[in-house]
């Protein structure tokens, strides 16, 4: 696999093309299909469908897959477009009255209705209501919450369809399919863990999966389990991206607030990932310099116990790092888990063992533990390689136990 993989979000790459590929919500899908088919027999009582439910569970995808399955022309409007009265009329006014020239049936979708804002999209909701009253083609509305007061009159004209979060098992099964397509050998426990953590949000589960697994051939529970300790508002990957690729200094600083993550931990993440994103030597040096200064302020906090200094730690680790480089993405670079944290957690035992070995050598050789580790242990390792019998003999004389001997001789 090449080093830089063009970044295609897996949510895009594995977007269902057909209703049967959409996870869960079988009942809702059946109702939608029934309603759309009823249009074949004439205009139904409810000319519009209002799909609602939490984010990331496949509402939009369902409508797109439906249009695709039934070979309908989908006319879409989402929050990215203006939805003033005028704009709605332009988009849906004519379309709702006439079929396509080429005989393909039409389907009008107003997505992300929650995003319709009072001022900018003034009159938009009222116009949608008007369009629905007279439409001759099916209209589908989507929002997270259908029961907002401003949707009241709209709601009365619509058939309400609730989308529910898919179960953990359903999400995990979907992730497994993606892994199979990507050639990733993923442990079931790992996928269940990601699914569980996403709380039914399939989109975020897939994003997590991509961040954790892309480019790997294996995904183990260990790879993902570190996510456990952090229950955050935004995934740390997003925060990192927001800092490293910040629009400006304030945006980089603001990213901190998105993270429900310990600052020390975040600093470790930034530190680990800087060199994978910032390649230019000058920029790399500047970014590391900013981070090392954040570290100095961290030390000053420890020394003075004055936590108000934390603001400088934040400035330097976010705005300081972001402003030291051009922030041009060179393609998809997966974020890496901080090696130092991994080492700290996995090697605590190793370090304890090492210092005990040092103590025992030191006792015999009249040295401190740390000097014994530095001055004697390296030679002892070589003696073990050259002459295991001699190595063992010396180790016994030093009162080292079997575990220590195994460690030194490299047979762990």
């Amino acid at each position: 696999m090449s080093a830089s993989i063009a970044y295609i979000p897996w949510t895009q790459k594995y977007r269902p093309r057909s209703l049967s590929e959409v996870i869960g919500n079988e009942e809702a899908k059946r109702k939608i299909l029934e309603w759309i088919r009823s249009w074949d027999r004439g205009i139904p009582e409810k000319r519009a469908l209002f799909i609602y439910g939490p984010p990331g569970i496949g509402k939009t995808v369902t409508v797109e897959a439906l249009a695709n399955d039934l070979n309908m022309e989908l006319i879409e409007s989402d929050a990215s477009s203006y939805r003033t009265e005028e704009a709605v009329r332009r988009l849906a006014g004519r379309a709702s009255q006439f079929g396509s020239i080429f005989g393909r049936k039409k389907l009008i979708l107003f997505d992300e209705l929650d995003g319709i804002t009072g001022s900018a999209d003034a009159g938009g909701l009222r116009e949608i209501t008007e369009v629905i009253k007279t439409t001759r083609v099916p209209i589908i509305l989507i929002a997270n919450d259908a029961f907002e007061p401003r949707f009241a009159s709209l709601r009365n004209l619509c058939l309400l369809i609730e989308f529910k979060k898919p179960s953990k098992v359903e999400v995990a099964r979907h992730l497994a399919k993606i892994c199979a397509r990507e050639g990733i050998d993923a442990e079931e426990a790992a996928l269940k863990f990601i699914a569980e953590r996403s709380g039914g949000d399939v989109r975020s589960a897939i994003n997590d999966l991509q961040a954790l697994a892309q480019g790997k051939s294996k995904l183990t529970y260990e790879d993902v389990s570190w996510l456990a300790s952090r229950d955050r508002k935004e995934e740390i990957f997003n925060v990192l991206r927001m800092i490293l690729y910040a629009r400006d200094a304030s945006a980089a600083k603001a990213a901190i607030n998105m993270a429900d993550v310990d600052l020390d931990m975040l600093l470790e993440w930034i530190y680990e990932n800087i060199p994978y994103h910032i390649k230019n030597p000058h920029e790399l040096a500047a970014a590391m310099d900013a981070l090392s200064k954040a570290d100095i302020y961290r030390g000053r906090i420890k020394e003075t116990q004055d936590w108000s200094l934390i603001r400088y730690v934040i400035d330097l680790m976010t705005a300081g790092v972001a402003s030291s480089w051009s922030r041009k993405s060179s393609g998809w670079v997966p974020f890496k888990f901080p090696e130092r944290i991994k080492m700290a957690s996995t090697s605590k035992e190793e370090r304890d063992l090492l210092s005990e070995i040092g103590r025992r050598i030191g006792r015999k050789c009249h040295l401190s533990s740390s000097r014994a580790i530095k001055e004697v242990l390296p030679y002892l390792r070589i003696i073990f390689q050259n002459n295991p019998k001699m190595g063992k003999g010396i180790a016994r004389w030093l009162d080292l136990n079997d575990e220590m001997i195994a460690y030194i001789s490299g047979k762990e």
Binding site: L284, R298, E303, V376, P378, Y379, N386, G393
Partner: protein
Amino acid sequence: MSYEMWTEKYRPKTLDEIVDQEEIVSRLKSFVKAKNVPHCIFAGPPGTGKTTAALCLAHDLYGENYREYIMELNASDERGINVVRETVKTFARTKPMGEVTFKLLILDEADNMTDDAQQALRRTMERYTETARFILIANYSGKIIEPIQSRCAPFRFTYLPREAIIKRIKYICERENVEILDDGIEAILEISEGDLRRTVNILQTAASVGKPIDAEVVYSVVGRANPHDVREMMLSALNGDFISARNKLRELTQKYGLSGIDIIKQIHSEIFRLNIPDRWKVKLADIAGEIDYRLIQGASDEIQLSALLAKLVEAGYEIKKGL
């Protein structure tokens, strides 16, 4: 056949066995004769016989069972004020049985003690002078607080002369039935820089290869003992590979137990051996100094050293551009 570390096997047991440092030895012998020892500071570089001299003094003073009369503490392991308050006091306040009326407390790596602990030690030294004498061992006597220095007889240990080390190497090889060639001896001398402990450790490791020791055996053994040395890390950075330089840094701290201060010291001495323009050497020394200062102030080793590595990457890039 029994195995042990040669540094211990060939460590002199009595003052008579110490062949060099004549002046020091003769002063110590006079203490033995008088059966009185003042508080002492043994200062000098590593591997010059400070600990050995203290142990030999104890042996000659108390006889074969000298261990019962001395306490050996290593300040690096057991520093801190509590050790002085508890362990040292408990040991120091009781009078020993026998001809010699005091015990001997050998405090190794005393320059690693905190100032607070040294202050406490000073009072203990005064209070229990009747029953205990202290030998403080340090690389730099300057790091021992003035009030303690003024209460101690100073002993300055220097690097052993070349001939003395050669003699020692040959003596050990003869006893161990190990063949060593002249260029092997030269190589060991060059690497160990007058540090006898290092000399003997290298010698024993080279002997474990099982063939006559020549320069090649010595260099290969030493090279393997420090496989990812600081220089290699610096060269990676200068060549623009920050990530692999950082990995080497991690290995140095993790596997070889080097502290940030150890590493910055080595970086500093390597800077002037690098094949780069002098102007850059000075620049890098300045940067190293700043990082060194930060480490002393308690900043995080790895992040600070990584910042230094990033500067090396930048320097390497500039140098290549011919700036």
